[in-house]
Symmetry: C2
Subunit: 212 residues, 2 copies
């Protein structure tokens, strides 16, 4: 017997991250029972996106146009360039911070064992951009993993060679976290990188009741 | 600025059950970065399924043909008819049990407040089928919820009126569960519906070492 359309759909849904056989079944039945229109819309949006989304030729982020809206915008600060590993990281920074500079998306991290070197990350393109002379600060926002740190180190050298100041996101205890549950490496780093509490902040704290 | 294809995709992905903004972002980026082909396949499978999957005219299950393969099959026992609420329930029974009879899928349960009555569940069709005289036992496999029980009660009456023996799935303590964590209603039902241990099983147990 040939594979039914339903089975094909369930099987195809499993390309989604975190979706196994059971979730795929649930999704397929949900669409068929209650969301036919949503399913039609989703399939069209997906086909469109897969076909028409390429990469911005300036920042390598996903874009449906040759240059993405952020790069094309005249209102972004061209002196600040933030380098991230992935489009998702770029979106996270864009949503969380008030950053108004520009981005460069590596679409990966240096990983010689997987054959990912400076070429694959478009670093020649990045150097070219630094050479243009507009960028004053290169904000390196790679992930705090071993490979991300190695990439950051490499990028900092690149920047210095072009007389651009590299900077790095602060590492430390996450806001809202409890010291007890913070991993050792982070805690040790945060302890070593402690900063002086400025005088006015101290005064402000003294006037408040101590908590418990 | 118009909504980008990426934003449209993320938005459309949220029709999937259990998928919020964050998961939808993750799925969209995953497809774009690593699964373009899978995404193309998925969008095609979804469009096909949404357009071409209808209902079997005999059992009301999802089917891309007028009569589903199970109903069309000559090797299923026509004396046994199992009534379930949804196609997912039918699949669960088909996968877990060795049931070789036929199914009838209500595509819902009696729920007068939501305007779902016997007509919406195709019960006239079910009665017609019972009248044909082939079915000897109607296995009522609705969910053990208030509405499912009410539906089961109604179905049992329907069956008896056509001289068909209705039966119900056993309720009790789930296999592998711990009594301590079983809800009160289930435990009370299982206690009330306890069954005698047949003699040979008892003997078999006596020859084994008692567990702790």
């Amino acid at each position: 017997m040939s594979v039914s359309l339903l089975e094909q759909l369930i099987d195809a849904l499993r390309v989604l991250p975190g979706v196994g056989q059971k979730s795929a079944q649930r999704m397929a039945y949900h669409l068929l029972e209650r969301q036919r229109e949503g399913g039609v819309r989703l399939s069209a949006a997906m086909a469109d996106a897969m076909e028409r989304i390429g990469h911005c030729r300036r920042c390598r982020d996903f874009s449906e146009t040759e240059t993405c809206p952020t790069c094309a915008s005249g209102s972004r600060d061209a002196h600040l360039l933030c380098v991230v590993e992935s489009p998702a990281d770029r979106l996270a920074i864009e949503q969380a911070t008030g950053f108004r500079g520009q981005y460069f998306v590596l679409q990966g991290r240096l990983s010689p064992l997987d054959g990912i070197g400076p070429r694959e990350l478009g670093l020649d393109q990045l150097v070219q951009r630094l050479r243009e002379g507009e960028v004053k600060e290169l904000i390196v926002a790679t992930n705090p993993t071993v490979e991300g740190e190695a990439t950051a180190h490499y990028l900092a050298q690149l920047a210095r060679a072009q007389d651009v100041q590299p900077s790095r996101l602060a590492h430390g205890v996450p806001l809202g976290g409890e010291l007890e549950y913070v991993d050792r490496g982070t805690l040790s780093h945060a302890f070593g990188s402690r900063s002086e509490i400025p005088n006015d902040q101290l005064k402000h704290q003294e006037t408040k009741e101590p908590v418990r």
